[in-house]
């Protein structure tokens, strides 16, 4: 399968594949007799071959059996798989709460669900979809796929990555347990003060919401940092900036947006918690605080949030369009630049969520302009994808069907977004079902449809088995019809004056029929997900075997086995093209010289992807899990007493000391 590097390949790579080892001055990169192994007892991957190499590496990079082993793992694939599965479970929970709401709204003055439960339901729906599904699902795919796509063996800071998963899991579990106990938050997913403040939300409900934010944001930022460093420093030799797969670019930009946006909402939720529990007055107008401050902070995060959800999806779309169009991406540079532009612009739009708050008119109209401007980079992406398909030879398999669905729905949602960007028009449709329709077109069209495509596309890589194509087509059909039947009528109900977040409405308003149609659509849409679940479960057990590259795709993850071995690649590939597997159809050039018995990775330069260093990456450790438990104790405790921040930091300190305790292992001696 693989071949070692020939001089020809070396020429193809600018300054290729030299693995410098610092003071030793050895260059064990390209297989060469001149390179003496740095230590005689250490086996390197040019000394063994074939199955033996695979087996030894699998042992080095493997995860121990048993509960402790499972909780100690730092394998990005295992963590990534857990992340994906957890996020999809939250997707289903959020979907179930949506179906419950739709049943309540099916007819006027319905008494199925009372206002208290309904308010909790829509808060849980929004919170779950945005914080427990939307953000994590993009990061989850990054955790699994980015190391594979950039041709390395593990994600950077793998323990941090493991830690982030547990924190995310605990935060999500906490809020759903609270909901099950009838103490779920009931203030909406953006929890505006004063409604969510201490006076109007007595009890712990809003505290659970605010603390869940803290959990997910800690987790989100940790993953984002891991991803950024992985993309910058762990790329395979030869993967220059312009050979980075578009998916990886999308995740990189996304991670930067996360790192800059999430602190704003952590600030907002921390101030909210302080107001509620310590009695500060950040949002109390009577004592000089300001209720609008919260909205600014929240939306300074909240609008980039939309792009945090959408950017990974552009990565999925790019990957799938290229593979199924059987043509390399048209306008690679344009696509990358529009990703970056989207990332920047996403921070300049937040005020369009506050057009009816009575802000100065000139200021508001600036945000009209910036909001409309973001149509340009998004337009470039859409046009480039269409061009790629145009000049390609589309193969209509389930992933591509979902991508076509994505185009239909997302473009419609983006265009209705242009209406919302206009201050005067927004004053009519803001906070109505028109907005509900708009952002479901954007978010389901822009994230869920590409996600479904991505699951169908990468499922063979994750499990080694193909998903059923027949069920896939049914799934797509039901999802597409169900979605449009559910959400298109909401544009009209919104224009007819139905505000969002109402648990019922009067019969004389005339919204009954449209709401009934929406409910029917929602049930169909949910049924399509039940079918999806069945497809996942049955294909995971009985699906036909996939092989490493079932779609004949071009990016590096398809060079690994399906599912990938713990080490991902037996030898690190050398990248000579944006689509390495298309450029080197017979065998992939590789570099050798990495240790077989130690977890060594290649660290490369940021721009040129030149191999720079061999660097050990951390072994499995239980400490990230313990640190996550300690973090959870601190966060949950601090909802009940501010002193938890003090005593809660002790177990956390112990966990961190354990985590960073010098190991005196070979990795430290070198």
């Amino acid at each position: 399968m693989t071949r070692t590097l020939t001089p020809h390949d070396v020429d193809a790579v600018p300054e290729p594949t030299r693995l410098a080892t610092g003071e030793r001055g050895g260059l064990p990169g390209v297989r060469s007799a001149a390179d003496a192994p740095p230590s005689p007892d250490e086996l390197r991957d040019d000394q063994v071959d074939g199955l033996e190499l695979s087996a030894r590496l699998a042992k080095t990079w493997g995860t121990d059996k048993g509960l402790i082993g499972a909780l100690s793992t730092v394998d990005h694939k295992i963590i990534g798989r857990r992340y994906i599965v957890t996020a999809i479970i939250f997707l289903f929970l959020g979907g179930l709460s949506a179906v419950a709401m739709r049943l309540q709204l099916a007819q006027p003055e319905n008494e199925l669900i009372g206002p208290d439960l309904y308010n909790q339901l829509f808060t849980m729906h929004g919170t779950t979809m945005m914080f427990l599904f939307g953000v994590p699902i993009g990061e989850a795919f990054a955790v699994y796929l980015v190391p594979l796509m950039v041709g390395t063996r593990n994600i950077a800071f793998p323990r941090l990555n493991a830690f982030s998963y547990y924190v995310y899991l605990f935060g999500g579990a906490m809020i759903w347990v609270a909901f099950m106990l009838n103490i779920g938050p009931d203030v909406g997913w953006f929890a505006y003060v004063p409604l969510s403040g201490p006076e109007f939300s007595p009890g712990k409900r809003a505290d659970f919401w605010a603390q869940m934010i803290t959990f997910t944001e800690v987790a989100g930022i940790a993953v984002a940092i891991s991803v950024i460093v992985t993309v910058f420093k762990l790329r395979a030799p030869g993967m220059t900036l312009d050979r980075i797969p578009l998916f990886v670019w999308a995740e990189l930009v996304n991670s930067f947006v996360i790192v800059f946006a999430l602190p704003a909402v952590v600030t907002a939720s921390a101030m909210l918690i302080l107001d509620r529990l310590v009695g500060t007055h950040f949002f109390n107008p009577a004592e000089g605080g300001d209720a609008l401050l919260y909205q600014h902070l929240f939306w300074f995060f909240g609008h980039p949030e939309v792009y945090i959800i959408f950017l990974p999806a552009t990565g999925w779309v790019s990957a799938i369009v290229v593979t199924f169009a059987r043509r390399q991406a048209f306008g690679y540079i344009a696509l990358v630049l529009s990703l970056i532009a989207t990332g920047f612009l996403s921070f300049g739009l937040w005020v369009h969520h506050m057009f009816t708050a009575g802000l100065p008119q000139l200021g508001a109209s600036f945000f009209t302009a910036s909001s409309m401007l973001i149509a340009i980079p998004n337009g470039i992406q859409i046009f480039c994808w269409i061009a790629t398909l145009w000049d390609g030879r589309p193969i209509f398999r389930t992933p591509l069907l979902f991508i076509i669905g994505f185009f239909f729905i997302f473009v419609a949602g983006g265009l209705s977004g242009i209406m919302l960007a206009s201050v005067p028009l927004d004053s009519q449709v803001h906070d109505t079902f028109f907005v509900v329709a708009h952002f479901h077109y954007v978010l389901i069209g822009g994230n869920v449809f590409p996600l479904l495509a991505a699951v169908y596309y990468w499922f063979p890589k994750f499990t080694g088995r193909m998903m059923s194509e027949r069920i896939g087509i049914w799934h797509f059909g039901l999802a597409f019809i169900g979605f449009n039947v559910a959400f298109f009528p909401m544009h009209i109900t919104g224009l007819m004056g139905m505000p969002r977040r109402v648990y019922t409405y009067l019969p004389e308003m005339g919204w009954g029929n449209l709401n009934l149609i929406s409910t029917i659509g929602a049930v169909i849409f949910f049924a399509s997900f039940v079918l999806f679940l069945y497809n996942l479960a049955s294909s995971a057990r009985r699906g036909p075997m996939a092989g490493p590259n079932p779609w004949d795709a071009g990016t590096l993850e398809w060079a690994a086995a399906s599912p990938p071995l713990p080490q991902n690649f037996d030898r690190i590939p050398v990248v000579t093209n944006r689509e390495p597997l298309w450029a080197n159809r017979d065998s992939l050039p590789v570099v050798t010289g990495l240790s077989v018995d130690n977890r060594e990775q290649i660290v490369s330069t940021i721009t040129h992807g030149r191999a720079d260093l061999r660097e050990s990456t951390p072994e499995p450790s239980i400490w990230p899990f313990i640190a996550a438990v300690a973090t959870a104790i601190l966060f949950i405790g601090s909802m009940f007493t501010p002193w938890a921040v003090v005593w809660g930091s002790l177990p956390l300190a112990v966990a961190l000391i354990g985590w960073f305790w010098p190991k005196m292992s070979t990795e430290d001696e070198r």
């Binding site: 006076e199 009695g279 107008p285």
Partner: protein
């Protein structure tokens, strides 16, 4: 034994959710609760004084929603006109530990409903029974005689002191003397 932590955990969680229950309709809707509360442990005869508690007290004073409602009605019904924000004015303070007429929630309900000498009017028939209970629960929270988690946080208003939930837990000492200032002129 193995399940003990689990049982404990669920017990804690269940006790937590009662605190959050939002009961809008008192049940039965129009009944007035009968409470017989002894102010002193003395009584004629060998047995102690007979008491009858409806058990509603715990339900109200451990429930954050009820206490928050009570806090709102406390202002709406002008309790603060005499008692200020608990520090007392022409009426006695409510946030200290001295209770002339008993400091249990049942006593307070009785005080609001029946009135007391020297100026406390009777609100029977003026404030519905469930709202009296809510107000009484809030009054209890002023001296922090309710669980911390149920006591109100600050409200969106000017503040002279810490919110109820941040006050140290108080105690209740029944009895005491009416201060001269509050006594009727002889």
């Amino acid at each position: 034994m193995k399940h003990l932590p689990l049982i404990l955990l669920s017990a804690i969680l269940l006790s937590a959710c009662e605190r959050e229950d939002r009961e809008y309709r008192s049940n039965p809707v129009t009944a007035e609760t009968e409470e017989k509360i002894a102010l002193v442990p003395l009584s004629a005869g060998p047995s102690g004084p007979t008491e009858h508690r409806s058990g509603l007290g715990k339900e109200y004073e451990e429930n954050a929603y009820h206490i928050a409602q009570g806090k709102k009605f406390y202002v709406w019904f002008n309790c603060n006109g005499c008692h200020a924000n608990g520090g007392g004015g022409s009426g006695p303070p409510l946030m200290d530990d001295r209770w002339f007429y008993g400091g249990q929630i049942e006593n307070i309900v009785q005080t609001i409903r029946e009135g007391r000498p020297n100026g406390m009017p009777s609100f029977r028939g003026k404030i519905p029974d469930d709202q009296i209970w809510q107000i009484a629960a809030y009054v209890r929270s002023m001296g922090r005689n309710v669980p911390k988690a149920a006591a109100p946080g600050r409200n969106d208003d000017m503040h002279s002191g810490p919110a109820e939930q941040r006050r140290p837990p108080g105690e209740v000492i029944d009895g005491g003397q009416v201060p001269p200032a509050a006594q009727m002129p002889q």
